[in-house]
Symmetry: C2
Subunit: 446 residues, 2 copies
């Protein structure tokens, strides 16, 4: 699939001059970041967005690896045949009006045309694809997600746009979270989850894979590809249609047979995938894994300046199957009133230096597989300086270090420092622990 | 307790000139918003922050209802006796160094002194109290939380500061969420959960109560007060120390006996309280209840421009015990491809007007007890205009309307509009449904 995600040249069939049309958005997105040749195809225009336009694919002067198709559904099969003749390898069919609209026969015709022409299809009825690392935005998404190592393959284009919007926001919690590949599957008439799992398993730019999945067509092929990919890198699966009500909605949405949630959960977990129940949980887990990796053991140390925050973390850790052995450092490095069990409570008047002392004394890398550092803003708290202390510590500590800077207003500067340094942060202990649990399940540690 | 939350005059015993000291912060906070007399007490100063200082409580010229005490622990009992003689009704003892530091006898002496002097005590070892509606900040919290109708009683001062920080942030999701009373219980040597529950049950400024609780001293008194309060308004209980690991941390934090989480859950739910498992869940639920109230039935309509978002909402609703009956409106008001089951999928190209049509046609107030409106940013989506449409609809609809504007960057303006109009928003379907479920449990609807 290298030519899909790293094409040398891209054509947009159905490029439009009208800024309100998808055929315009796609062309604009391609011109914004893609470094190869871009050929708009439109028989009624000479030039769009300053780029010369061609009446048909066959008249495009150079070789084209990828054609993005945004013409009305009935003529898509014909365009795909023409693409094959022009040597195109991949077509991303954004056009809607196929099986999702009851036109199953047109979709079968599209697939036949593709097979005959030797072309592979993404879609139809999809948002498009993105390679954020190379700058290729072959979609009508309004923005380019930041570059990084998470791949997202989604059976819902709209969820993909929400994710892009979230991580393009400059929100401090989203800093340093980036994407390698984005794929909107649409109806997945040809290329489907198994194909992309196989590709992403070997993709060196992808460390973590997230799937939003409503249903699969070939359960065995899916399970096999998932097992192979999850054996090499974490695969997080958000399953839409886990329940009767959700499954009914799925059948009207993508026409997939949703199947029972418990069956899916069983299959996904058996294949080594991470089954998550929500949108935030999916990307909290992806952030942790992309930035810091899984815990190295089931023993976690909690360091906190707030008794309550530490207790909530301990509860969540215990419920998730982690252990909290007491540290064997010297309690006298902290004030007498500090608690030197686990959590280590450095007390409400802790400055950054006291966190440093506590981490150095108690966070023994042989004893603990992960460390959660909690900070609540109190009178003398130093959210930013403490973040620098934790970031320095995280560089040395072999397992993941998670920051929970609770609040927003006065802690945001610390959250920014942590995320920029690659320390994943979470707004509450329970969200940090949920992500850590998922990472540990993948690593078969709990 | 009216004199505690609405004192006519407040003294700060241990007021300090040193800005780094708690005795300074408390005085500054009181002067910032409290409209009655404030008397700093410090034998070594004539004036602090431009206010005349008195050498002792007995020399303060006017009557004092509330004394905030920030002197070293050993002399606190003596100050409390003096307070009683000066006619003070309530002492908020911020000073630490009592039972939490192993000085149980000093704490018993404090309680004896208070009984003998006819004074009631908040604390010791606490952050203080706040009446956000009147502007009384008798605490050393860095900021005043916005005024509203949520009361928060916390056995952890640090969690209270995190909550203040969160809701003072200007974050769009926090808009319009405000507080009536804030209480940091500290060691709760005298006034405790039952006392505050009894007061808050009758407090007209409080619509929703949130407790962060590690342990209770008198289970029967707690259960009785919780039942009485929860019979009048929602009481959300976040229990720290649900597990063995958490309970161990509790014993070093507040010295409470945490008890088993399941026992607590049982008691709290039997008394009509809402047992929550996390910090975000607690305040998501409080926001929903304070802004929009509980659902009026177990039947929920979902309207979405994203199939995937609607499916995730349907799954979460089904798992929570809600029903999603299909609407009986006229499908022809929407484009043919739209799904007019439940969820109603208005499609990715929906503008604000299409949402309006769908809500008017399908959101029958006799059929549905709540409505969830989901928006993901797509090419022609109108986050802000759609928010205005939903806000107008919510004014007419008798049950709660919840907004899920998924993303951040381009939807924030819509979230602001919704929250300002009193429509609670949530960043994901699962968080909206979790809050709705908790509200329905309180109202005994599911």
């Amino acid at each position: 699939m290298e030519r899909l995600f790293e094409p040398r040249a891209v054509a947009v069939v159905g490029a439009s001059r009208d800024p309100r049309k998808v055929g315009h958005s796609v062309l604009r997105n391609l011109l914004a970041g893609f470094e190869g040749e871009v050929y708009p195809v439109n028989p009624h225009a000479d030039e769009i967005l300053g780029v010369r336009c061609y009446p048909s694919l066959s008249e495009v002067p150079g070789p084209v690896d990828l054609a993005v198709i945004v013409v009305p559904a009935p003529i898509v099969p014909e365009i795909v045949r023409e693409a094959g003749e022009a040597g195109v390898k991949y077509c991303v069919v954004i056009s809607a009006g196929f099986s999702e609209a009851g036109n199953e026969e047109l979709e079968r015709e599209l697939v036949r045309a593709a097979r005959e022409a030797g072309v592979r299809i993404v879609g139809p009825n999809c948002l498009g694809i993105i390679n954020a690392r190379s700058g290729l935005n072959a979609s009508f998404a309004a923005e380019m997600p930041p570059a990084g190592s998470i791949a997202f393959v989604s059976q819902s284009g709209a969820l993909a746009t929400s994710v892009i919007d979230w991580f393009s926001s400059g929100d401090v919690g989203a800093i340093g979270v980036g994407f390698s590949k984005f794929v909107s599957l649409g109806n997945a008439a040809d290329l489907d989850f198994p194909d992309f799992l196989e590709y992403l398993a070997g993709d060196e730019e992808t460390d973590v894979v997230v799937l939003y999945l409503e249903g699969v067509k070939d359960g065995d092929a899916f399970a096999e590809a998932l097992s192979a990919c999850a054996g090499r890198k974490p695969v997080i699966v958000l399953k839409g249609g886990r329940t009767e009500a959700g499954a009914e909605a799925v059948s009207t949405h993508t026409g997939s047979l949703a199947g029972s949630g418990e069956v899916y959960r069983g299959v996904i977990e058996q294949c080594g995938g991470i089954f998550v129940e929500g949108f935030e949980e999916a990307f909290d887990t992806a952030k942790l894994l992309a930035k810091a990796g899984p815990p190295r053991s089931d023993r976690v140390l909690v360091v906190t300046n707030a008794g309550g925050g530490g207790i909530l973390a301990a509860d969540a850790l215990h419920e998730s199957g982690f252990r909290l052995p007491e540290p064997d450092g010297d309690p006298s490095v902290l004030p007498e009133e500090a608690a030197t069990g686990n959590p280590v409570d450095v007390l409400g008047d802790a400055d950054a230096e006291r966190y440093r002392v506590a981490l150095e004394e108690f966070a023994d890398p042989d004893r603990y597989g992960a460390v959660i550092v909690i900070l609540t803003p109190q009178s003398v708290t130093e959210p930013a300086r403490t973040a620098r202390v934790v970031a320095e510590f995280a560089e040395e500590f072999p397992g993941p270090v998670l920051g929970v800077w609770m609040g927003r207003h006065s802690v945001a500067v610390g959250v920014r420092t942590l995320e920029e340094a690659g320390v994943p942060t979470f707004p509450s202990p329970e969200r940090a622990v949920r992500a850590l649990r998922n990472a540990a399940l993948w690593a078969k540690i709990i």
